[in-house]
Amino acid sequence: MKSENIVGASVPRMEGRGKVTGQAKYVDDMALPDMLHGATVRSRIPRGKIKKIAFRPEINWQEFVIVSAKDIPGKNCIALIEEDQPCLADGMVNHPEEPILLLAHADRHILAKAVEAVSIEYESLPAIFTMEESEKQSEIIWGRDYIFKTYLIEKGNVDAVWEKAEYIVEGEYTTGAQEQLYIENNGMIAAFDSERGLTVWGSLQCPYYVHKALMKLCGLPAERVRVVQMETGGAFGGKEEYPSMIAAHAALLAIKSGKPVKIIYDRMEDMAATTKRHPSRTRHRTAVSGDGKILGGEIDFTIDGGAYETLSPVVLSRGAIHAGGPYYWPSVRIRAKAVATNAPPHGAFRGFGAPQSLFALERHMDRIAQAVHLSPVEIRRRNFLQTGQTTTTGQTVSEPIDLGKLLDRALELSDYAVKREKFAKQNRHGDKKKGIGIAAFLHGAGFTGSGERYLSSVVGVEACRDGSVRVLVSSTEFGQGTKTVLCQIAAEALGLRYEDVGIAQADTQEVPNSGPTVASRTVMVVGKLVESAARGIRQTLSASSMLADSYSPEEFRTACRTYVAKHGEFRSFVRYEQPEGVIWDEEKYRGAAYAAYAWAVYVAEVSVDPTSYNVSVDDFVALQEVGKVLNPVLARGQIIGGVAQAIGFALYEKVIWEKGRMQNGQMTNYIMPTSADLPPIRVYFEELGNAHGAFGAKGIGELPMDGPAPAIVNAVQDALAVPFDSIPLLPEDIFDALIGNAAQQSQPPSARGHR
């Protein structure tokens, strides 16, 4: 038996060698014989009826394969939750990037010209572009009303608290759309063969989501659809659902042409047409006692879902459940709704609703602090959830988390008290204003409520003919370290070395459905199943007396070889079972929303340039409790990467909309942080463990997206003594607040704040 633990060690990334030598194969690196290239003709208006499609004569259309909605063999929809989103518009368009026609040709250059040579005549209909317009219901653009989904979370009697309150604090907070901006654009290759059926290879997070969508679209049985994930160059939620659309398009062209078809988006098409983070608006009204205790509050959380429902109900749910943050609310009423607009559907992006509602909450906590004359530290300390108390959904915190202690450590690591005092003094004289801000937050790991039970994930571990072991999951690698950590877990459970364990390519023909690779669920939920499945292999070998209690890796290989030679294929499968005590009431939205929460306190230090109004983040402390850290280098990488994306969310990344369409879909004018823009991001972990996760792990992937934006904006307020409640917070917004405000003050407030 090996003596050192593999879990907890920074073993090298499993697929790392291919990545650093340029040998790793992404979808655009793959080519099939006789392959055509595919392209998408999209709507150019936000809403209307398609009157006529004309093909201009400068193109020899005989050379092209052309697909319209009529060519769809099965149902014209991208199956997800609701089946409201068509694969190709059939007579009606609902957003300005809606796919209408597909073209394929062997020459990519001619293809691009052909897309331009399709003229579409529309009868325009009135369109809706903001949540506020949608709420007015002047034009019903989706369903019977304008609402995809609403939730109500109620705890205690919030109506009774207002008269007891010493202070009532109100605020409204908004966040903008954010593009995932994975560096690898979306892409798919499809091939159809009447014998074997349909195969797609692509850049994607969830092979079985694509599988489900293709079955429905093509009217094919499960065994005749195969989905293979290629190396995927970043995803962040952005390749959770839209790959189903692109796979569907490539599949339709492949079926009609009888040839393999590759569709690779360019950057502008990817940014404009695929999903982005939901824009949000949160209103808080909070009753607070004289000593700064929250008595109760009303939280109204609204997100812009775009033109189709897609994942909006799920994003909304997570946002609503996280809206109360890591604080104790004796009473609360959270009303959440996702509304329709005529923009491309918004979708999954790391954090999934929580960064939006937590931005609002953590800005609001600073506003409460100011109202009750307490420090931002003290207001949080007095309201932190304690072990034994209940969350907004009534879930009892059972683990021994001490948020006060976590806060103390973050303050110490960031030298908060000294800096805050120093900056306050310096700001009185200097032009350059400095500030420091904090945010405390939590993130639930895994699917919400009964979600994991419905997913009912299956995981396998196989002992192969040659005695090697491989993990069988549909969980995908797109930078987070899925392959590495799941192999660490299997090796640890089997008492083997890391290099003794491999993992199958995420190919629906090879691996069971272990659920989508989303929701910070892979290590905690899928990892736990890998652990069980691996133990199954070991138990079977022991029970058949092929393996002693103590063994070397070579003895284990021999035992596997012997077993396979005697009994044939040797696979251990495990299906998810809801842990006891994790009970959720979907109707009332009460109970255990998540099997585990990660907890964090982040501290941001900023300076604001007096001439450019540019905010720079000078130091960043990210302290979190994430259960057991299974691979310190990878875990640190997740946190730093998430913080960097969240700095972009807070300060740089602004989607400019014009009639539902993104106007700045290029890396030149949509600005993400470069290596020169970021502060030192200092990462610290606390490890309490977690009974429900593999070797005590919780999910960590999304957590670091939640806290940085409010910490940074709180720091900007500390620096300038002016509150900002909308992100992204750009230099022009600060200029307006400091200089423009004076000019605008003569106007009534209603004249402002219009987007």
Partner: protein, 150 residues
Amino acid sequence: MVNGQQVTVRVHTMERLLDMLRHELGLTGAKEGCGEGECGSCSVLMDGVLVNSCLIPVIQAKGTDIVTIEGLSSDKQLAKLQQAFLDCGGAQCGICTPGMILAVHHLLRKRPQPTLEEIREGLSGNLCRCTGYMQIFDAVMQAAERGAVT
């Protein structure tokens, strides 16, 4: 010359160097991220200078010495740099990694012992969405310490 070998191809003079490398020579290590010289994932060395191959027409590359990630991989010295990326977590999804490694190689040629500021500046033309760059900086420091590029 591409990766030390004489190469002759017949393509349109305005074909992008990136497409020529990927489609004609099968060197797919250089990636297209943006197609407009912003992201740096198509970085290659042209006569020792770091360029975005998506912005270079083939005619401009004629007669030059091009080095791609595939060319560096056979370089014994570079193994240290690649190892540093693996050790430090400098590669996550890997799509920016070939370009990033070429940028680091180029930087270390000019500045074998770079300061953190020089690293930040030197890599600011190569975007990475996964790592937040810190572990790439760690990898550069480790590689410099071990004399990865001389």
